[in-house]
Assembly symmetry: C2
Homo-oligomer: 153 residues x 2
């Protein structure tokens, strides 16, 4: 499992190189490390979290660069931005179709898949409305950890 993941990551990093060359973007040390860090992350990190992690490898990196690189990666459709009900944006690399559970309390994001939903024909209203990326389903609620904490009160 570990090995195939490493392969996947190096494959995506090559993809990054290719896209940069194609679009005339510069392949800098900072951009590579930010993207690599996000590929390794499993927790939909915030900008700040990602910044702290990359800082360990590049101590002089600035928060602005992380913002700018994430904007660039998003623009290139290589990563997804997920907006929580608080102002903070969270990020994940672009991988297979999946949906998100967001906890209104702790803001943690959990991935889930829902085949029955994915294959269900959407109501005609939606198709008329415009273009929907099915993978963008977001369900808000309160996770069991936070529910437990609330019960204690």
């Amino acid at each position: 499992v570990k090995k195939s993941q490493n392969q996947d990551i190096s494959q995506k990093l090559s993809g990054f190189e290719a896209i940069c060359r194609e679009k005339g973007l510069k392949l800098t040390h900072q951009r590579l490390e930010i993207y690599r860090e996000l590929l390794l992350a499993k927790d939909h990190p915030t900008v700040e979290t990602l910044y702290q992690r990359v800082k360990k490898r590049i101590p002089t990196i600035s928060l602005d660069t992380v913002y700018r690189t994430l904007a660039m990666l998003e623009e290139a459709d290589m990563i997804n931005r997920i907006q929580t009900s608080e102002g903070h944006a969270r990020f994940e690399p672009d991988y297979g179709v999946h949906h998100h559970l967001i906890c209104r309390k702790c803001q943690n994001i959990t991935d889930f898949t829902w085949k029955a939903f994915d294959t269900m024909p959407p109501p005609p209203e939606i198709e008329q409305w415009g273009e929907v990326g099915v993978k963008n389903i977001v369900i808000e609620g309160i996770c069991s950890d936070c529910l437990r904490k609330e019960e204690k009160k």
Copy 2:
């Protein structure tokens, strides 16, 4: 139709009164007008938009009061907050089960219903995860108006 809507609104305003009395909150002119304005609105207004509208009736009202009143109404489960992918929050009075289509470009929100979805058993992962308010389904995409604008470029 008009008449029944008015009845609905005055009914909800009475409910507001009752809730305030119950929770020891004060029923102020400002709060009433803000809530009434939101009940009348069909377009999921932002704080700023709501502020501009209420200002017509209460010229001295401040934006802070709108923020605070909306927070209070949300806390009392009388209204819903909808977060767009931009930072702006939008609001709607609490009414029947429905879902939201949010346009990533213009941020406009369209309501839709989806019976088949509402009655579909959620995957076990979700139930284990925590407590999900089914009405909180949000689907992001790009509305047909914005698609048309993009094609023109």
